[in-house]
């Protein structure tokens, strides 16, 4: 469904991504991990074209992300994304955050959009907060709204860019619970995260990145039981020890 082929990206002279390739099948959950600065976030932002790349190709269900003729907004409307800092629209209520793109991008009627928004707020357990503004919610609540906002577009896949990194520890699980539920319902997911518990529970594959390269890309059980590289081994021992 998502095919990443030999992606390279430079920021000026700095080579951020080096020939990264992987495939994500429909219904697959892929966790991307690695030390900070390894290019994970940049890679996931390349998938829906939020970050341009200079070399290689990313194809989502037959549409090439980097191609000039591709209608990027149209493609992005079909791929959900959740950000580290939530990025809810602060001038809109929770409910409006969920309906605005449905109405303005997908041209759904207000009634249809509101019905969908209501159902998704139920799913993330925040129906009672619909009329509030993002600033009135906790970080964990905001991130659940952000997930619902992405789901409102009926995406074919979901991208998560460190969805729990900016959260207080006691709020991480409420967000992970929603993500686990999604994974179990068969959503195609690419998740940049350090939450190895989440990876062990629902991931099909784990990608380990270091210095802009995909160092390991293996089924979850293989990755956790015997990483191929020293680099991944060190990384795992560091983040799993506590």
């Amino acid at each position: 469904m998502i095919s990443i082929r030999d992606i390279s990206k430079w920021y000026g002279a700095f080579h951020v991504l080096k020939d990264c390739s992987t495939e994500i099948q429909k219904g697959e959950v892929v966790v991307v991990c690695g030390p900070s600065g390894s290019g994970k976030s940049t890679l996931i932002k390349c998938v829906n074209g939020l970050e341009p790349f200079q070399k290689g190709e990313i194809v989502i269900e037959g549409t090439s992300v980097g191609a000039k003729k591709t209608n990027l907004p149209k493609l992005r409307a079909r791929v959900g994304m959740v950000f580290q800092h939530f990025e809810l629209f602060p001038h809109l209520s929770v409910f409006q955050n969920l309906t605005i793109a449905q109405c303005r991008v997908l041209r759904r009627s207000a009634g249809e959009a509101e019905e969908k928004a209501g159902r998704l707020l139920d799913l993330v357990g925040l129906r009672a907060h619909a009329r509030k503004f993002p600033a009135q919610l906790s970080g964990g609540q905001q991130q659940r709204v952000a997930i619902a906002r992405a789901l409102a577009m009926d995406p074919i896949a979901m991208l998560f860019d460190e969805p729990t990194s900016a959260l207080d520890p006691e709020m991480i699980n409420e967000v992970l619970d929603v993500m686990v539920k999604l994974a179990q319902e068969g959503m195609t997911m690419m998740v940049v995260t350090h939450e190895m518990g989440f990876a062990k529970k629902v991931a099909d594959r784990v990608i380990f990145m270091d210095e802009g390269q995909i160092v390991e890309d293996r089924p979850k059980t293989d990755f956790f039981s015997r990483p191929n590289t020293d680099r991944a081994q060190q990384f795992l021992s560091k983040i799993l020890s506590h």
Binding site: P73, K74, R76, V79, F83, H85, H91, A101, R149
Partner: protein, 225 residues
């Protein structure tokens, strides 16, 4: 000691009120048109197209480099009358009011453009990415996400600029328009009570501007986003 003679002011109040209406009209038109035009110029200035961006920058630089008095005279002598005659050969307008409206609107637009540009740039890249990720086109991102937030942040600055504009509108006396200050000056000359009229007009400007800036300060406290 100078003996104040306020006796001619009460009788002049209806004229002064007419002048105030002209002042308010100029201020309002310049605010509304200036903000609309300023928004367009700000968006063009930030556009990826180098030609559009350079044109917008040139507009801002031009109007910010010329004293307002000269802009008014320039519009009166060279710009507005020929254009109006060309557009409406048979029309019969109060040309001076039209000159004041256009000169102030175009002049203020350059100042509003800079305020609005700073407001747009204050919205984080993350907000833009979130909007793009939902499939919004560049235009929709600007209209639905960036501008509504930018304007909320800018309200105090926009109002402060409006207060300056309200005071600057008194400069229309150079094109012979009777705004509040113009009327006060005329009455002063005809009654001989110059000091009293100018003091009175100054007090009115002071009270109105103080009231407005108090409102701005209250707003600043309340706007959190």
């Amino acid at each position: 000691m100078y003996a104040f003679d306020w006796s001619s002011i009460p009788g002049s109040l209806p004229f002064l009120w007419q002048g105030m209406l002209v002042t308010l009209q100029i201020t309002l038109v310049a605010i509304v048109v200036g903000i609309l035009l300023g928004t367009i110029i700000a968006v063009l200035r930030l556009s990826k197209n180098p030609i559009l961006s350079a044109l917008a920058a040139a507009y801002v630089t031009l109007f910010r480099s010329i004293p307002l008095v000269m802009v008014l005279l320039w519009f009166q002598l060279a710009l507005v009358p020929p254009v109006v005659r060309w557009l409406f050969p048979k029309g019969n307008f109060d040309l001076n009011l039209l000159i004041a409206f256009t000169a102030f609107a175009f002049f203020e637009a350059s100042y509003y453009a800079e305020i609005i540009r700073a407001g747009i740039q204050s919205i984080s890249k993350g907000q833009v990415m979130a909007a793009q990720a939902l499939g919004m086109t560049d235009g929709a991102v600007m209209r639905l996400v960036i501008l509504p937030q930018a304007f909320r942040r800018m309200i105090p600055l926009l109002l402060t600029q409006a207060i300056i504009l309200f005071q600057d509108s008194s400069l229309v006396y150079v094109i012979g328009l009777a705004d509040f200050f113009g009327v006060a000056k005329n009455r002063a000359d005809s009654t001989g009570n110059e000091v009293e009229f100018i003091l009175f007009a100054g007090a009115v400007y002071l009270i109105l501007c103080l009231t407005l800036s108090t409102i701005v300060r209250q707003l600043q406290k309340r706007i959190v986003i």
